[in-house]
């Protein structure tokens, strides 16, 4: 099959995609590790082992004063986890800013992610969902553009989930909220921010899992090649 000179994904999209992938994985691993030191979640401003949690994850803890169903305490790993979490957060935020600003100015969002007005109808949306649940291999022209549901999912992740997880993260910082108290007050308190941060993590993990599944469905080799080298098979009608 002929190779096109134009890349499927711009160099900026490819580089930022993989940097954010790395940062996200580091944030996920370190974040889950930090949770182990206090696997209890609360709502409102404050919470500790003397107060009733909203819920507790049934895992052992790395602190012996946290009541768990386990007779042992895990080793404390919060030092490197916290260092790694914040360093990765900086990578994520800076790379996301670069991607976001570039996408705004070079038309990437408008051209590639914003669905056309005619596509945003309940009928189109329903048919796109049905199509996805048939797990059919996407049509050849989809190798060169995103389908409706895909566009909406990416927009949700880029403009809702990532901004929200960064916001809820900042809302836990005692120094940041001293300058911007509204960041935490609006969320209903510091523990609410922590709980939301936790749920947003799972929303993003769910997205990543579905994303990887769709990559396999569409053809792992061709999609990975497109995101790494930028090369993709010519659409059939152009051959």
């Amino acid at each position: 099959m002929a190779e096109t000179p134009r890349p499927r994904h711009s160099i900026l999209v490819r580089v930022t995609h993989w940097l954010i992938t790395l940062a996200f994985l580091a944030l996920l691993v370190s974040g889950l590790e930090i949770v182990v030191s206090h696997p209890r979640f609360y709502w409102g401003e404050v919470g500790n082992v003397n107060t009733a949690p909203l819920f507790q994850i049934p895992i052992p803890s790395s602190r012996n004063l946290v009541p768990t169903a386990y007779g042992y305490v895990l080793p404390d790993q919060n030092g490197w986890s916290r260092y790694l979490h914040f360093q990765s957060a900086w990578v994520l935020v800076l790379v996301a800013l670069l991607y976001g600003l570039a996408g705004l100015f070079n038309g990437h969002f408008r051209r590639n992610l914003l669905p056309s007005l005619s596509d945003v109808s309940p009928k189109r949306l329903a048919s796109s969902i049905v199509e996805h649940f048939r797990f059919k291999r996407p049509r050849a022209e989809e190798a060169w553009s995103y389908n409706l549901l895909q566009r909406l999912a990416y927009l949700l992740v880029i403009f809702v989930l990532f901004p929200m997880i960064i916001w809820t993260g900042l809302a836990m910082s005692p120094s940041f909220v001293s300058a911007v108290p509204a960041a935490v007050n609006f969320l209903g308190g510091q523990q609410s921010a922590r709980t939301l941060h936790f749920f947003l993590t799972w929303a993003l993990v769910l997205f990543v899992l579905v994303h990887i599944f769709m990559v396999f469905l569409a053809g792992f080799r061709s999609r990975m090649r497109a995101m790494i080298t930028g090369r993709a098979p010519e659409p059939l009608e152009r051959v």
């Binding site: 919470g47 500790n48 260092y83 005692p174 940041f176 300058a179 510091q190 523990q191 922590r194």
Partner: protein, 252 residues
């Protein structure tokens, strides 16, 4: 080589040169304005430096949120305290009458204050949240003397950049920069929720640094040392925490 790729090459080169020189300039400025934390070495140094520098630029004078009396936690959590030993128990039996706060380093008048003296200094209270790095928290009313008042009393030298503070538990020592040391909410506390500060919560004397995580609010404070060179303390990382793998700056 096509025109386009030559242009791309030149642009990339220019961007790379600009960013490299930008980084060098930024590093020099950061150093000059004290925006580099003591634990800036190592693989996590860049992230720590970015956090510390960004927060010092954005939040130098900001006040931690204060809460209403009704928001004080009914059940605060003292956290685990390793046994304090016989020496502490003897002091406790004497109602801490013999507790001393030594202030030394770059000061005009080194001092050793008794607890009664510390309590006679102007007092301030605030109702603030203390957050542990683990994720739990509580709100309490803290009463004590502003650290800035103590520093003024001993005549802190103008070149002082850090206040090192030590605990009765000799493994624990901390330090803060002048932005936090002179911050109006930074108190040497001896009272909590209207009563004496309980031993579990750091009594008789606890540092309260409101804009940083709980571990900067060191319990059982016995000594303040004012310095312009943080590298000469311990392993040169600023406090005991980085020696145990935790960040020196805990504004998060």
């Amino acid at each position: 080589m096509s025109k386009l790729s030559r242009r791309a090459l030149i642009t990339t080169g220019m961007v790379a040169t600009a960013s490299a020189s930008g980084l060098v300039v930024a590093a020099k400025l950061a150093k000059r304005y004290g925006l580099i934390p003591p634990d800036s070495g190592g693989i996590y140094g860049p992230g720590e430096t970015l956090t510390y520098a960004a927060q010092r630029l954005l939040t130098r004078h900001s006040l931690a949120r204060e809460f209403s009396r009704s928001q004080i936690s009914a059940k605060p959590f003292a956290n685990e305290v390793t046994p304090l030993g016989d020496g502490f128990q003897r002091l406790q039996q004497g109602a801490f009458a013999d507790w001393r706060l030594v202030v030394d380093g770059l000061v005009a008048r080194p001092a050793s204050f008794s607890l009664a003296e510390v309590k006679s200094f102007p007092r301030r209270s605030h109702i603030t949240m203390i957050q542990c790095e683990e994720g739990w928290s509580y709100i309490a009313e803290w009463t004590g003397v502003p650290l800035s008042d103590v520093l003024e009393r001993v005549g802190a030298a103008p070149q002082v950049r850090y206040v090192v503070y030590r605990s009765f538990q000799t493994d624990w020592w901390e330090s803060i920069d002048m932005a936090d040391a002179l911050h109006p909410q930074t108190l040497l506390t001896y009272g909590m929720n209207g009563g004496e500060l309980p031993v579990g919560f750091g009594g008789p004397l606890r540092m309260r640094v409101t804009r940083q995580l709980g571990y900067k609010s060191l319990k059982y404070v016995t000594q303040l040392t004012l310095t312009d060179n943080i590298k000469q303390f311990g392993k040169g990382l600023g406090s005991a925490e980085p020696e145990g793998g935790y960040a020196w700056y805990a504004g998060a």
